[in-house]
Symmetry: C2
Subunit: 193 residues, 2 copies
Amino acid sequence: MYSVAMSTPERLIESTQELLWERGYVGTSPRAIQQRAGAGQGSMYHHFKGKPELALAAIRRSADERQSLAEEQFSGPGTAVERVANYLRRERDVLRGCPIGRLTQDPEVVADPTLRQPVADTFGHLTLRLTAVLTEGQALGQLDPELDPADTAATIVAVLQGGYVLARAADSVEPFRRATEGAIALLAARELR
Amino acid sequence: MYSVAMSTPERLIESTQELLWERGYVGTSPRAIQQRAGAGQGSMYHHFKGKPELALAAIRRSADERQSLAEEQFSGPGTAVERVANYLRRERDVLRGCPIGRLTQDPEVVADPTLRQPVADTFGHLTLRLTAVLTEGQALGQLDPELDPADTAATIVAVLQGGYVLARAADSVEPFRRATEGAIALLAARELR
DNA sequence: GTCTATAGTTAGATAGAC
DNA sequence: GTCTATCTAACTATAGAC
């Protein structure tokens, strides 16, 4: 299942990441993790205290990976609107949904501050970075100064997360495409030329 | 738990609606449903074939309820933008999330066409109604005719669903408020005066 | 480090008495 | 219609051998 040699703890973490993405915390059993990782019962409990500890490691890693991916678009070239559009149009596995946003629907994740923290941090960081991109665009005279950067940043992140929801409901990427293109058009109308 | 007398099947359906909202399909057990409804094992299986049949009844009812609620704002008074703003600002239990959108994160719901159908219908209907409101606004000369009504409608529904995600991640309604107000401001900028 | 054995609990349902 | 009994499997571990 893994092309390169990987330690047992690594395989356990990656398997947990995948299962949390597909089935959430409530829907993921230690047994399923072990089978996907090709590790035995005793092996898993030797490296991790239990499901919560393993889940925390997996959630933290997924959160870090998403933040790095987002940063690629934000720090790229182009105007503020172009960079936002690049972010929204980035190639995504839309029907699989967002591995981080998905966790907000899990009762045990939101109820546990430790598990929820990396999720909160990811969206907090994302929103701050987008706010900075928009503010920079205003400072450079590219964007209408009347635009509220923080509100607009939240709108953009929400469109993305909501786009996933609509796509999964419809079992089609079409609503995701419409939602993101609609947002890009609304933002582009505020560009100064 | 219920103020008025209610039949056992009714109590089972309402309990299932609540549990699906809170914990999703995967996280909801027949046992938990029975306890919340104050019904016994045999009673539940007498009225419903099993968990899937009961869940379908509950999902259908939640879907109908949401569509009725939305219709109140759409058919109300005001310009197109005002009606959209009323919809986005409607009083909501933001931290509980959307009972329908929530189901899109459930692997067993999206994998079962029968369970997914009411969810797809709800967002399909919602998007069509919003598209009609925006198109009407354009016909009345209230809204920029350059705006794509279908894309913008999808954007609005996505902002709402994504707003819930951000709020639950932050355990605060603030990101939801920012996302929806940001969207309203973007849309208001396209109003013609 | 990994394996097997064991164990209490819950999931999801069926059978049959009342 | 509702209740209790019963059932197979899975869940989430712990213990101890290797």
